[in-house]
């Protein structure tokens, strides 16, 4: 387009593909206004509307499956199968998170409509990021999501530790965004393009591929991606933020934002900079090994379950990176399967903490799960499924996820990486199984009846059974991931 000539075609060419994003943003604005008209006893309706709009958006996303990648809005927006699947999973995860959070927020007296509104805007940000076709939309989506999350961490204003972790998250997150932006500007300088397709086109040119400037940019991009993922050595914020924020926000950060981080990595590295794959593979290999090592070893020493799950996230991120660094379609599929299965299991695990939490009692110590079997055999069983799945025992979903990424790195002859991965997943099994041991073989120290609304209990059970069911029959999800990234 020549500058200065108004061309309305650019404004709405392919705008219809962004309809789910538009719908969800409008729904969030409507809920923001409607919430002002509700009094505290009617506040639940904001949550109901938010969940309904998330489900409707998921239906809108899935209603028009695309066969190949569609580039719309002048190259700023991309819709492919991966984007559709990731968006649908994000939307349904956020809906589950809202259902889990409602009781918890009410009991803590921080039940405000803005929790849902900020959550919805964070989801919109994630969706923009997932189907970004240009560095601009990638960055804007990331910032929209991060900004909502910073505010949500500080949601419990009377809690000092929440404020502390919000500041930590904000300062480190801004640093990471700055680094990412610097890397993007270098990439733009070297390739002369902001669109991912344009960058890929220039970077595949042999004269540019080995260019030191390109690698310079990639290094900064990887710092930014590593931070958003929480990969070692950019993981410092994860344990503090997970522990300090209200559990209802921790579950949001631990699930939906990880899917967005995965999309960020996939868009930037394989899609835009596939030509520099050998270079970023080496960098990711360092991050992956360190993440698996630090995550699994430090998790053993934790007494706080949220902190333990934080270190467990770090170690799982290491596994996801294994698939990405292999640089093959099989590896990307395995990573996507890993990420989705991890999100399902993590949502359930944090949901269990939310279920056991009461007024003035967080249920976030590992010892709070002592003798859960005596108190509620059903939920002890659900927690056991989730823990087995995180540990990667067959026939649970985590086993297939780990198997997939290890096969992927073996496929490109990184045998030592596969050996390291197996060793650390054995180390990791210890602290997951310790929870199971506490639940079944220790005496309960707490006799309170397990609360939670019927809806929440049903959702949580369905979530855990999904982790089990998909482990027994992993074929369908595997196939979805394979079709998404061919």
């Amino acid at each position: 387009m020549t500058a200065g000539v108004f061309n309305p075609g650019f404004f709405n060419s392919g705008l219809a593909y962004a309809w789910p994003e538009i719908f969800l943003s409008l729904a969030a604005c409507v809920i923001l206004v409607l919430d002002l008209l509700l009094n505290d006893t009617q506040r639940r309706w904001s949550g109901v509307l938010a969940v309904v709009s998330l489900v409707v958006t998921a239906v809108l996303v899935l209603a028009h499956p695309v066969a190949t990648r569609v580039v719309a809005l002048g190259g700023l927006f991309e819709l492919d199968r991966m984007a559709q699947i990731l968006k649908a999973v994000t939307l349904l995860t956020v809906a589950a998170v809202f259902v889990y959070s409602t009781d918890y927020l009410q009991r803590r007296d921080i039940f405000k409509g803005e929790y849902f509104v900020l959550g919805l805007f964070a989801t919109v940000g994630g969706m923009v990021l997932i189907s970004a076709g240009s560095l601009i939309t990638l960055y804007l989506g990331l910032e929209l999501m991060s900004l909502c999350l910073y505010a949500m961490v500080a949601f419990d204003r009377d809690s000092g530790i929440a404020a502390e972790s919000a500041i930590k998250y904000f300062v480190l997150g801004s640093m990471a965004s700055g680094t990412l932006l610097y890397g993007m500007s270098i990439i733009y300088g070297v390739t002369g393009s902001l669109e991912l397709a344009g960058i890929a086109g220039v970077a595949s040119n042999a004269a540019i591929a080995g260019n030191i400037g390109l690698l310079f940019g990639v290094a900064f991009l990887i710092v930014g991606v590593g931070f958003k993922f929480g990969a070692v050595p950019f993981h410092m914020w994860i344990p503090d933020v997970y522990e300090g924020s209200p559990t209802s926000v921790t579950v949001f950060i631990g699930t939906a934002s990880k899917l967005a981080a995965f999309a960020l990595a996939m868009r930037l590295l394989p899609e835009a900079l596939g030509a520099a794959q050998t270079d970023w593979s080496q960098m990711l290999a360092v991050l992956a090994v360190l993440s698996m090592a630090i995550g699994n070893i430090v998790a053993i020493a934790q007494t706080n379950l949220k902190r333990m799950l934080a270190y467990s996230t770090i170690s799982h991120v290491g596994f996801v990176l294994l698939g990405i660094l292999s640089g093959t379609a099989q590896g990307y599929q395995a990573s996507m399967f890993y990420m989705i299965s991890y999100v399902i299991v993590a949502a359930g695990a944090f949901g269990m903490i939310l279920l056991l939490a009461r007024e003035g009692f967080e249920a976030d110590k590992i010892t709070d799960f002592k003798g859960l079997n005596a108190r509620s055999p059903w939920f002890a069983g659900m927690m056991a499924i989730l823990m087995f799945s995180l540990a990667g025992l067959p026939p649970f979903i985590g086993f297939w996820a780990k198997l997939g990424v290890i096969q992927a790195v073996l496929g490109v002859h990184f045998t030592w990486l596969a050996v390291v991965a197996v060793l650390f997943s054995v180390v990791g099994a210890f602290f997951y199984l310790r929870i199971v041991k506490l639940m079944y073989f220790d005496e309960p120290t707490d006799t309170a009846v397990i609360g939670g609304s019927v809806l929440m209990r049903t959702m949580l059970s369905a979530n855990a059974l999904l982790a089990f069911g998909l482990g027994v029959i992993p074929g369908s999800l595997l196939q979805i991931c394979q079709r998404a990234l061919q």
Binding site: A3, F10, E114, F121, G189, V190, G213
Partner: protein
């Protein structure tokens, strides 16, 4: 040649001011040095023919954001002694890491030369070329989608700011204007009939 000399002068002042922001002992000086940073960055933008962005940087950041920032810094009761003591323990590590990063970046950018397709000289612009007009048209046509997302970010910023700071105080005495207006005389004045005292 002349623009290059100007660039180096302003870039040097920019880096010096940026160092001053983090090294200055007084936070008010830090804020003022940040103003200097922004001003120099805007000059560099003007040198790059992006006058509109340069002016906006001065108007928005120097004019509005930094003035607000100065107010905040002056309002806060900062314990400088403690902050300085905490920084003192970390400075060798800070200098080592920053020094290594600067060394690596200079090595890549200057010694090995950052080549690439994008690093060509920009075409000369016509004398009547309007930066503002081009930006406006691009923002509302080609970049309409990102500018809408940016609008959502601003909305989120205001929602978040309100939700984090609006606090209904317990035991406060807010006025209800509607009630004050709707008041009637008999709500306020009670006429009490009393029997008059008898004269003694």
């Amino acid at each position: 040649m002349f623009p290059t000399i100007l660039f180096f002068i302003f870039a040097a002042v920019l880096i010096g001011a940026a160092l001053g922001v983090i090294l200055s002992r007084n936070p008010v000086y830090s804020a003022l040095l940040l103003v200097l940073c922004f001003f120099n960055a805007s000059v560099i933008w003007v040198l790059l023919d992006a006058e509109f962005l340069g002016i906006v940087l001065v108007l928005v950041y120097v004019g509005a954001v930094m003035v607000l920032f100065l107010f905040v810094v002056m309002m806060l009761d900062l314990n400088l002694e403690r902050l300085r003591r905490e920084f003192a323990g970390y400075w060798p590590l800070t200098v080592a890491v920053a020094g290594f990063a600067v060394f690596a970046m200079i090595n890549v950018i200057v010694v090995k030369h950052l080549g690439g397709a994008g690093l060509q000289t920009a075409p000369a612009l016509a004398a009547n070329y309007s930066n503002t007009r081009t930006l406006g048209v691009e923002l509302f046509t080609r970049y309409a989608y990102p500018s809408q997302v940016a609008a959502l970010i601003l909305l989120v910023a205001s929602v978040a700011a309100i939700v984090l700071t609006l606090r209904q105080r317990k035991g406060g005495k807010p006025q209800d204007i509607a009630q004050q207006v709707a008041v009637r005389a008999k709500d306020r004045v009670r006429i009490v009939k009393m029997a008059s005292e008898k004269k003694l």
